[in-house]
Amino acid sequence: MMTESKEIKLIDEEGRRVDGRKPDELRPIRIEAGVLEKSDGSAYIEVGRTKIFAAVFGPREVHPKHLELPDRAVLNCRYHMASFSVDERKPLGMTRREIELSKVLREALETVVFLEEFPRTMIDVFVEVIQADGGTRTAGITAASLALADAGIPMSDLIAATAVGKVAGTLVLDINDIEDKYGEADMPVAMTPRRNSIVLLQLNGRMTSEELKKALEMASQGIKKIYQLQIEALKKRYSVVSLEE
């Protein structure tokens, strides 16, 4: 792998990326809501080769009881990768990275959900990565917010997310696994698309302040497109209900 890495050309002569995309192009995205029978709300997202399920349960009784809050609901989030989701088998259980991402996702979702409407309860959000090819946290949060909306939980806005990376000196939108591994920077961004407020921003690598500004602009453009797909999925889900004869 290491010898191969030097040969990988992340941007070719025509300005195309490893998978043939232009720098500001998203991977093909498929979003569906209400895909799991047993959950209160669910969503499925495919971003290129990344595949993720999100399921929401609740509001329900808090367990363990001592976590209960008297004035609002507890949002519990679990980001987990399946053992078979990556090239080399991931051992069972939550790794340090997964625990951290669960926290990051929870903090982003807490900003939009009206938790004070359901005191003394808990809302569980499960994000299960079935296949990983970069951008799992951003795709995960996109699916999780849609699953919450599908569950009928009141929230101020949906959340859509994507990442901007820097590979071979160029800013590129929605980076995949190879670009993440061999690129210079990776910046996941999550926003509430209607109000354009940033609810998650991480940066791994280096960017100049101009690049950061441009990257944020690119991310916000991508997020708008993802948001349209989210709305479509949610409306499709409910029109099935209302037209059922």
Partner: protein, 228 residues
């Protein structure tokens, strides 16, 4: 100024109106504008904008009738489970003992006295213990459809099946009838209401379903008579 079409589903965060006074259930106000808080069908009802949920958790409000299961009897209060995620409290004077001799596992039909940060409390005077029937659950968001406009749907079900219904806003329903045929017809009708809650001409379809169920039972009986 309103920004929605009553036939189109809205999504959380969608702008609905300019006037903060028009904010009704299922909406929220931010910077003087009204937005949808959950997905559903927007409606203008009594001068305010409401979003009717198609799915979602039950939020108790004072005055709601609920069906619950007693989970604990304490010296001066009873804990009632409202369908899995919420417990309500029914207080009673200690010297009188639990009303109607309630014990753990009993099903009650009661009214919500208050619901706030301190919890959900039930009215002890208007409480009723339900001794027989079948308890079923459905999405709380679709209970209003089961009741119907001024109780029309439930009245129809009562008339056609001969069963008694105790419908709780929390999504639990107790059906009790003289015959098991009536009860099973009632349950299948409730399932139809739950599945097709937001489609047109639902009342007619339920009426037709109940009629055919009745006819079938009748035929079965006749055939049985002939065989004998």
């Amino acid at each position: 100024m309103y920004y929605f079409n009553e036939k189109e589903i809205v999504v959380p965060g969608q702008l609905l109106a300019d006037d903060p006074k028009k904010s009704g259930p299922g909406t929220y106000v931010l910077d003087g504008k009204v937005y949808a808080a959950h997905a559903g069908l927007p409606k203008l009802r009594d001068g305010v904008v409401v979003v009717i949920p198609l799915k979602g958790p039950y939020k108790p409000e004072a005055g709601d009738w609920i069906v619950g299961v007693v989970t604990d009897v304490k010296p001066s209060s009873i804990e009632v489970d409202l369908g899995g995620y919420m417990t309500a409290v029914l207080k009673y004077p200690e010297r009188q003992g639990p009303p109607e001799g309630l014990t753990v596992g009993d099903v009650i039909y009661a009214r919500v006295k208050s619901s706030n940060i301190r919890g959900v409390f039930l009215e002890s005077e208007e409480m009723k213990k339900l001794t027989n029937g079948i308890i079923i659950s459905m999405t709380p968001a679709r209970i209003p459809r089961l009741i119907g406009r001024k109780g029309s749907m439930i009245a129809l079900l009562k008339k056609e099946t001969g069963c008694n219904f105790w419908v709780g806003r929390n999504g639990l329903i107790v059906v009790s009838g003289k015959s098991s045929e009536g009860e099973s017809a009632a349950i299948s009708a409730i399932r139809v209401v739950e599945k097709e809650a937001h489609s047109q001409g639902l009342t007619d379809r339920v009426a037709a379903l109940l009629k055919s169920a009745k006819g079938r039972n009748h035929d079965d009986r006749e055939q049985g008579d002939k065989a004998n």
